[in-house]
Symmetry: C2
């Protein structure tokens, strides 16, 4: 049975999660942010099965988060390099990392900590409003239907009840 | 074949993604943030198959992002209410939403937009350093091994190369 596809779902959260798939994809991206570029290097640091890695890299290239750049010919071999779209995913990983550190790390503590070079401190990500810089919380942030929300579902009573006016 | 479990992987990103599973789980959480609490209401707004919803709610209760609160007896029926751990996941959804709006929404534009009540503006999430409030980017943020990173893997050359000193 083919699983539900969320690529066309009227939710950027669903579309993004759909692209992520299982944990291998964010792990591959996470390594890419650490400077890993080659198939063999991803394989070695992650211990990921070869066919799984092939599949995840292919998907990330198709979705334009990574691009292939040949570094040798005969046989041709590629580096996998983050695109702007891929680099912009960094914030998602930072915030997932922060949540996991807080709620899933247990007594051992966080497996990784982040150093913010601009202030030189060990720190973590915080989510704020891009307009005013103050924290965005469930209490002060309301979803509204946007321009890309389908017209007919937007008129359904359940959708109207869900969104703020 | 059982898929790889990432619950013990030394990465809070992997652990968090593993908990998410497919896109239904963040969609269920997203509805919970819109005030949805009842099985039938989740089913109606999402059009999610009954057994899938049962499974996702069970997992979210097991992982303590939602808690069950009886609202009637004979037969007993439950509301599913966000816990503190669940409420703290809001930032992950906001940042995923922002990324999807930017990169996956296409010409139609974002399906949802966020209003930040504190400043009254339509806005979106931004990821900043909790210590200094400036943006965290791939260029200014370095991962270091944390207290929860396993000792033996931390000594491997590939792990040492991956993390900043």
């Amino acid at each position: 049975m083919r699983r539900t596809s969320f690529a066309q779902w009227p939710s950027s959260i669903a579309r993004t999660t759909d692209l992520l798939g299982d944990a291998w994809t964010p792990l591959v991206l996470s390594e890419a942010f650490c400077g890993i570029r080659r198939f063999s290097a991803f394989q070695e640091t992650l211990g990921i099965p070869r066919n799984t890695l092939t599949d995840r890299l292919r998907r990330l290239v198709e979705e334009a988060l990574l691009e292939k750049r040949p570094y040798q010919t005969r046989p041709v071999r590629y580096d996998y390099v983050l695109t702007e779209k891929g680099r912009d995913f960094h914030g998602v990983l930072l915030v997932m990392n922060r949540w996991g550190d807080r709620w899933l790390a247990g007594e051992a503590g966080p497996p990784m900590v982040m150093r913010h070079d601009d202030c030189g401190r060990q720190s973590h990500a915080e989510v704020v409003c891009a307009a005013c810089g103050e924290p965005m919380t469930p209490d002060n942030t309301q979803p509204l239907t946007g321009p890309g929300y389908p017209v007919r579902p937007a008129e359904r009573p359940d959708a109207r009840a869900r969104f703020a006016d």
